[in-house]
Amino acid sequence: MRRTPWMVAATLVGAATLAHANPFFIGRYGGLREGPTDPGPFSMYWNPAGLARPGLHIGLHLQALSRAATYDRDAESNGVPAEVADANAGEATVSAFGVVPAVAVGYGFEITNDFVMGVGAGAFVARAGAASWDTDLAAPEAYPGAVDGPQRWAAINTSLIIFSPTCGVGLAHKPSGLSVGLAPVFNVVTLSTVRARNPDRTERLFDQSGQLAEGRILFEDGEAFGVTLTAGAKWQPADDLAFAVSWHQGATYKVNGNAYVTFGVAPETTAKAQIPLQVPDTVRLGADIGATSWLVVRPLAEWTDWSVMDRQVATNKANGEPLLVIERDFEDTLAAKLRLDFLVDPRWIVHVGAGYETGATPARTHEPGLAESDSWQVGAGFTVDLSESLRLSSSYILQQFLDVDVDDSLQKPSVNGHYTDRRQYVTLDLEILL
């Protein structure tokens, strides 16, 4: 079935008006095959309506990701005195590399001539963040905190993982091509983070007596648990035409952990602490449009309700008083992506893709920790049928965030300056069809 150009254009325009940009979102299951129309095992994540497919499907996913970001803390706009500029201003860098696996299994069967049911289970780490800013070995020895870099007042080292075991069910009505699915997601959140901190939210290094004033606050062993839902629908009126929508429910996790505080030369103090972690709702739209016999056009669109994250306040559980306040003022995000699948051979598919995502973080609350600006991405990949029951896919995706200049920071201490961020993803997906 050949699509007319206007149909493709209309779909693209529609997609472009929606969006996606997700701080600490690393889900790239299937690489460039991603999206709510994905019929593979990782429909478990993207859209459980895709589970309603006969047979046993096993998906093994491995993602290698790297990040390279910089933050140049400007001395003047942050009010850093010249004598401590070496300690509280200048460029900080962070680079990270990680490998994240995921697994999904689905089994579908006909329950009547008209209906197919599928069930599945999987385990993902769709959202995670790990940033350990590079130490500044050239920092003046006189300032013992400076080795953690000039960004340390906002972030030194953070590890956040949301591990999501999932199960789901899908049901397809073959005559209409309509399928629906629902998946409860069991999210386990772990969070640890450390930053420099003074009780008066200044970046003072020494007090009036010349004694150490700079401190640290560590939030460790933070854990939370919550069940969310993923629901989706897919309509496939023809073999080469499909439309799908999925909804990933958000949640606000109350992450409970231990706070360790060292202020100046005072003895260390500890407290049970709680910090909220808002994860937004996400709605994804996608379409598979067979434009020619050798080209499938796949527009994707995403909206994420990031405005739920207005601020994060870590509180002392003993008295409810705030220990740490981080302004966020996040904005809802939109993203539009376009994927092109070239069927170059009965066994081979070449994927190319591009996209643009708006950032959740306004400049005034941008900071070296949790913040993302607008970004564009490009990628390329392939899928090859190794046998009738074995399919291999691989993709490379480059995500480049637009540089951000901040001169009106709301954070305390302020984090005005220049930010850069680039991330790269390489995915490897093995699909077993039995």
Partner: protein, 418 residues
């Protein structure tokens, strides 16, 4: 299930941070390890100086430095019916920004001043968020163990706890109080601790800034040998007051600074009198209440001689920041004091401060410069009474004749190459 899932999650994310050992905990522990010496060697007075009874009724300004690095200014009014010991007094507390004549006190407590002048003030304070730049009201239960130095000054150690938002032990906090019947003093105008008669792990003389005490800020600056001042007669006396320091560093950089001094004496168990000065340096153009460039504390010998060690002194100048390590060896004169300096100017030019002379002339901050304005012991010794102010030239005019005579820019402590 939760714990197992967490472990599974961590196991799944293999090397997400690039290195499994590079954890927030490790960075936190590393910082504590790097600063362990600074905590262990923090100068904590081992006990109060010799206390003596005095009538302490009246209004006081208290400047406290809490162990968390928080500076706290309080106004305290002590009132009672008698001046004799033991003296039961009522203490009313206000924040330094409050007007005790108008505003209600934060808290009112009772105390008894004992025969030796010691007394204890226990105050539960609610410090509003804006005071500390934080997000919540800070609740603190502070115990001030007071030693009376004179009828004009008391000081001591503060203990207790911040109780909210998080419990913090205030052990190691200090305070100093001086009479302020007109509520004019601000934080930084007076010392924040007793004269240091005893101190655990007193930093060595070659450790760095904070005047004559505290840990090094610069990794350790060698203290130079004190210049010979034996040719200058000196007699110990109360040096409390404000002075204008006039010097010409190495004959090249004209320097004028505002020096505030508070003199105190304490008698030890053997009846020996130990004298100290606590002081602060500001630019001559700074306004009262402004943050000092540096503070210092030093003992005064029986003949009135004392050294002020100012490592890492930073000043602005038209040539850029001036960074110097200066030792001021001083002799007490009938009017003001004077001396010779040693040390090094490190930037913007490197200068050995040998043969540098200076003089400290009594002065009221914010008023025109004294005239004459000596810059050495030789010229200062000729003063028999505080000099009158000059008719022309003000402290911040940059045209004071003393500076001009030096060929430098006397713009309130902004040195210039002469």
């Amino acid at each position: 299930m939760r714990a197992h899932a967490t472990v599974a999650a961590l196991a799944l994310v293999v090397g997400l941070a690039g290195c499994s050992e590079d954890t927030p905990r490790k960075d936190y522990d590393d910082y504590r390890a790097r600063t362990a010496d600074r905590r262990a060697n923090a100068c904590v007075p081992m006990g109060p100086p010799e206390s003596r009874f005095a009538d302490v009724r009246g209004r006081w300004f208290v400047y406290a430095l809490l162990a968390t690095g928080i500076e706290l200014g309080l106004r305290v009014e002590l009132s009672g019916d008698t001046s004799e010991a033991p003296n039961d007094l009522q203490a009313r507390f206000w924040l330094d920004r409050a007007d005790p004549d108008v505003d209600p006190p934060l808290t009112v407590v009772m105390t008894r001043v004992h025969e030796d002048g010691t007394f204890v003030l226990v105050a539960d304070l609610a410090l509003p968020p804006e005071l500390l730049g934080g997000d919540t009201t800070v609740l603190a239960s502070v115990v001030l163990a007071v030693s009376t130095l004179s009828e004009h000054a008391w000081c001591g150690d503060a203990t207790g706890n911040v109780t909210s938002p998080i419990v913090i032990d205030l052990m190691g906090s200090t305070f100093f109080a001086t009479r302020d019947e007109v509520d004019a003093l601000q934080k930084g105008d007076i010392p924040f601790q007793c004269p240091r008669v005893e101190c655990v792990d007193e930093p060595s003389s070659d450790s760095g800034p904070t005047g004559d005490g505290g840990p090094p800020l610069d990794g350790g600056v060698p203290r130079p040998a004190a210049p010979d001042l034996s040719d200058v007669a000196s007699t110990r006396r109360d040096l409390t007051g404000h002075y204008l320091m006039h010097a010409r560093l190495a004959g090249a950089i004209a320097l004028k600074l505002w020096v505030s001094m508070l003199y105190a004496e304490a008698t030890d168990a053997d009846g020996r009198v130990a004298a100290f000065v606590e002081g602060s340096l500001r630019r001559a153009t700074d306004l009262p209440g402004s943050t000092p460039l540096i503070t210092f504390s030093t003992p005064v010998a029986a003949d009135g001689r004392f050294d002020i060690w100012l490592p890492g002194l930073m000043l602005d100048s038209p040539l850029g920041p001036v960074n110097a390590d200066i030792l001021l060896t001083s002799a007490t004169l009938p009017v003001g004091f004077c001396g010779r300096a040693a040390g090094t100017v490190r930037s913007p030019i490197t200068l050995d401060l040998a043969n540098t002379n200076f003089a400290m002339t009594p002065w009221a901050p914010g008023t025109p410069l004294p005239d004459p304005l000596p810059n050495s012991c030789e010229t200062a010794m000729t003063l028999v009474e505080p000099p009158p102010v000059a008719d022309s030239g003000v402290a911040d005019s940059g045209a004071a004749d003393g500076g001009a005579a030096d060929g430098g820019v006397a713009d309130g402590g902004s040195p210039d190459a002469g």
